[in-house]
Symmetry: C2
C-alpha cells in the first residue's frame, strides 16, 4: 500500500487562500455538473469477479470426467466429512499447512466462519471454560478498515467489536496486545492477512508471530485468519502469507488461529469450494459438531475442482490469468485518481499488489459526501463507513472501491467520476 | 406398513412346549453355524443409494449447458440467497407449496435443519419471547422409532427428547397433544411425514391437521417437517404428503411447520440440492440470519438440476427409475423374512410403499442379540436402538434395515442371514 508521493507543482488545497479555494470549488462544481450531464450508470460496489474472469473456469461445467476419487470412493454418494483428500492436498500446499490440518467444504468460507462462531457460542472451544454464549460479555478485536461481512456477522451474533488500526504490515499489534492481555471478554479477532479487504495490507511474519504469541486474558482466544486473497496477486511481487499455524504453535498457542480460504475468487464466485485449516484439536472439535449437521460436503464439486486444477501449480497458473484481466483495472483506478487529485493533498489511496479492493481515504468528514455526489452522478459506491463496525467510520473518510466487476472502460470512466467528486467535497469542507 | 398376517400352519414359538423350543433352538443354531461358515461380508447399515441409482443422474456431470438463469443472471457469480427461481418452482409444485414459501440451498437438508435449530437457540423464532438458549429447559417430542440423525442433532444441541409412538398414520397425536399443551419447555417436534425413517409410515391428513392445530404451551412451537422421502414411492400406490403449510395456516399456526426436502436420494446423495419451505415470517427470519453466513447457494448446481429435470414431471419420471431398481430389493427383504419366520410370531416387519428402510421388530429384549449374531456372521446391521433418542430402545426390539445400497443378490443373501439370526435369538429368550 502506497500513498501519493510524487513531486508535483500543485499546491495542496489546504495551503491555498480562501479566494483560491473558492475559485477551485467553482471549477470543480462545473466539472461535477459536466459529470452529471453524462448520465452515467456505473457500479463500483461489488467485490465480484467479472464475466471474463468466470469464463476462465468454464471447463468446470463439464467436469468431473469420473465419479471415483483416488481411493476408489464414489464421490456422488454420502460421506467424507473432511472433503476430498486430493483437494485438501492442493490447498495444504497453497496455504503452507499440513494436509491433516485441512478440511474442504461447500461453496462459502463465510459459512465456515459462521459455523465456527456458532459452535463457539453454543459449545465453547476445546480450551474454553464454558460456551461463549454463557459469558457475561463477548468482544472481538476488529482491525479497521476491514471486511464488512465480518463485522455484520459479529453484530448479528451479539459479539461486541473493538476497532484497532489496520497498518501496512497488518493489525496494530501493540494496540491489540494491550487490549487482550487483561480483558477476558475479548475472545478473538478478525484478520484478512494477505491483501486485506479493503486496504490491501499484507500481514508481516513479525506481526503474525506477535499476534500468535501475545498473552491473552481469555484462555480460548481465537484469531479468525481469513486468507481470502492468499493467491490473488496483482503484480509479480507475490506476497507469501505468514505461516499462521506454525507461528501459533511456536508461540505456545496452537489452537489460536483458524484459517479460512476459498475458490470464490479463483473459479466460480458462487460455486466454488471452501477451506478451513487449524490445529488437530480445533479441527477435531469443528468436525465433531459438523458431523451433526452434515453427512459430507459436495465431493463431486471437489473432484471437479481437482480435475480442473490438476495440482497447486495449476491454481497458481490460473491466478496469473486472473491477474492479466484485473491488474489493468487497478492501474486505471490509480491513474484516474492521480490525474485529478495528485498534489491536492485531499486523498490517499492504496495501490494494492493483490486482492480485490482499492482503499480511498478522503478529507475527514467528506466520505459520505463523496459517495452521495457519486451516486447523484450515476456512480454507485459502497456506502461510506462500510469497512467499519456498525458501518460507523469515526472520521468519515474511508471509501472502498471495487474495480474487478465492471469492464476496463467502465472502471476508467467511473474512477474519473469519483475523482471529480472527491475534489469538490474537499473544497466544500475547506471553504 | 403391514405385519405378517398370512394364515400359516406353523405354531408360534411362544405356544410351543419347552422341549419343542429347545429342539427348535438346536435346529436354528445349526442353521446359524452354516450361515457363519459362509464367511459373508455384507452391509445393510446404510440408507444410501446404490451406484446403479446414482448412474441415473450421470448427465449432471456435464451440465449445465449455460451459465445464465431465466432472468439472465450469471449463476456462476455471488448472490441469489433464496436459490434459483426455476428450481424453487419445481419444488413448490412437488411439495404442494407456493414458490414464495420455498428456498433452495446446498447439498444437505440436514444442514438446513441444523441452521434452523441453531438460529432458534441463538435468536429465537419470530414468535419467541427470547432466544431458546435462554429458556430454563428445552424439549422436543420425538416420534419413535425415528431418524437417528434427528436425535443426535438434538442431543448435541442440548435439547431433551421425549419419545412418543410413531403409528401407522404418523406420530401419536393424542400423546403428543397431551405433552405439549401444558409444558412450555416443549418447543417442537420432529416428523418424517412421508415414508418415515424407519417405519415407512405416512402421516395422514387428519394427523397432520391435528398436529398443526393442537394447543401448545410454547407460543413458538415448531414442527420440523422433514419430508425427505416425499417422492420416493416403491409402488404405484403413491402417497401424497399432507399439506403441512396450508393445514398450519388453517389451524391458526402458520409459523408452526418448517418443511425440508432434498435431492439427496433423487440425484447424487452427496451433491444434490436442499429445500426449505415455510411461512413468510419463518422464511424471512431464516433468510435474515442466513444472509450473515452466506452470499448465496451454489446456483450452478441449482441450474444443473433444473436442466437435468426440466420440470416437476421430470422429477417424477426420474423417481420411477429409482423405483425399478430398489423395489425388488424391498421385495427380497420381505421374501427372506417370510420364508424363515412366517408363523413363528417372533418378528413383525414393515412392507413400506416408499422410502428407504424396512422396520424390523423382533422379540422384546433380542434386538441387540440379533445384531450381534448377524455381525458375527459377517452381516453388518445398524446398531440396535439407533432409531431411538440416545440409541436407547426401551424394549430392545427394533432393527432398521437399509436394503438400497447392496446389490439385489447381496440383499437376498444378507436378509436370509438376518432371518437366521432372528429365530435363534427368539428361541434363546424363550428357552
Amino acid at each position: 500500500m502506497r500513498t501519493v508521493t510524487e513531486p508535483t507543482t500543485t499546491t495542496p488545497l489546504a495551503e491555498r487562500s480562501p479566494e483560491e479555494v473558492a475559485a477551485f470549488l467553482d471549477t470543480q462544481r462545473r466539472a461535477y455538473a459536466d459529470l452529471q450531464a453524462q448520465g452515467l450508470r456505473l457500479d463500483l460496489t461489488r467485490g465480484k469477479p467479472s464475466s471474463a474472469q468466470l469464463d476462465l473456469s468454464n471447463d468446470l461445467l463439464h467436469l468431473p470426467t469420473t465419479t471415483r476419487d483416488r481411493d476408489g470412493t464414489d464421490v456422488r454418494n454420502y460421506g467424507g466429512l473432511e472433503g476430498l483428500l486430493e483437494l485438501r492436498e492442493i490447498f495444504a500446499e497453497l496455504l503452507w499447512v499440513e494436509v491433516d490440518q485441512v478440511i474442504c467444504q461447500g461453496n462459502s468460507s463465510l459459512t465456515l466462519m459462521h459455523q465456527v462462531l456458532t459452535d463457539l457460542l453454543l459449545f465453547g472451544a476445546p480450551d474454553s471454560e464454558r460456551p461463549w454464549r454463557d459469558e457475561p460479555a463477548l468482544r472481538f478485536v476488529c482491525p479497521v478498515p476491514g471486511y464488512d461481512r465480518h463485522f455484520t456477522m459479529l453484530a448479528d451474533l451479539g459479539i461486541e467489536m473493538i476497532p484497532v488500526p489496520m497498518n501496512e504490515d497488518g493489525p496494530d499489534v501493540v494496540a491489540t496486545a494491550a487490549l487482550v492481555k487483561d480483558d477476558p471478554s475479548i475472545k478473538g479477532m478478525w484478520i484478512v492477512p494477505t491483501y486485506a479487504n479493503p486496504t490491501g495490507a499484507v500481514c508481516s511474519e513479525d506481526v503474525a508471530a506477535a499476534l500468535m504469541a501475545m498473552p491473552t486474558a481469555a484462555p480460548d482466544f481465537r484469531i479468525m485468519w481469513d486468507n481470502a486473497y492468499a493467491f490473488h496477486h496483482l503484480t509479480e511481487e507475490e506476497a507469501k502469507s505468514a505461516d499462521a499455524l506454525t507461528l501459533a504453535s511456536a508461540g505456545g498457542h496452537p489452537n489460536r488461529p483458524i484459517m479460512f480460504a476459498s475458490t470464490s475468487k479463483i473459479t466460480f464466485a458462487g460455486a466454488g469450494v471452501s477451506v478451513l485449516a487449524a490445529s488437530a484439536a480445533n479441527k477435531a472439535w469443528f468436525l465433531r459438531h459438523l458431523g451433526f449437521a452434515s453427512i459430507g460436503p459436495d465431493k463431486v464439486n471437489h473432484l471437479r475442482h481437482v480435475e480442473f486444477f490438476g495440482d497447486a501449480d495449476g491454481v497458481r497458473a490460473h491466478m496469473r490469468k486472473h491477474r492479466e484481466i484485473i491488474a489493468p483495472k487497478f492501474d486505471a483506478v490509480d491513474a484516474a485518481l492521480t490525474a485529478t487529485l495528485a498534489g491536492l493533498d485531499v486523498a490517499t489511496w492504496s495501490r494494492p499488489t493483490g486482492g480485490y479492493f482499492v482503499n480511498l481515504d478522503v478529507v475527514d468528514g467528506t466520505a459520505s459526501r463523496v459517495v452521495q455526489l457519486a451516486k447523484e452522478a450515476g456512480i454507485a459506491l459502497t456506502p461510506a463507513g462500510s469497512a467499519f463496525p456498525h458501518g460507523q467510520d469515526p472520521h468519515d473518510r474511508n471509501i472502498r472501491l471495487a474495480p474487478t466487476f465492471p469492464g476496463l472502460a467502465d472502471v476508467e470512466q467511473a474512477m474519473a467520476g469519483v475523482a471529480t467528486c472527491v475534489a469538490p467535497a474537499a473544497a466544500e469542507k475547506l471553504a
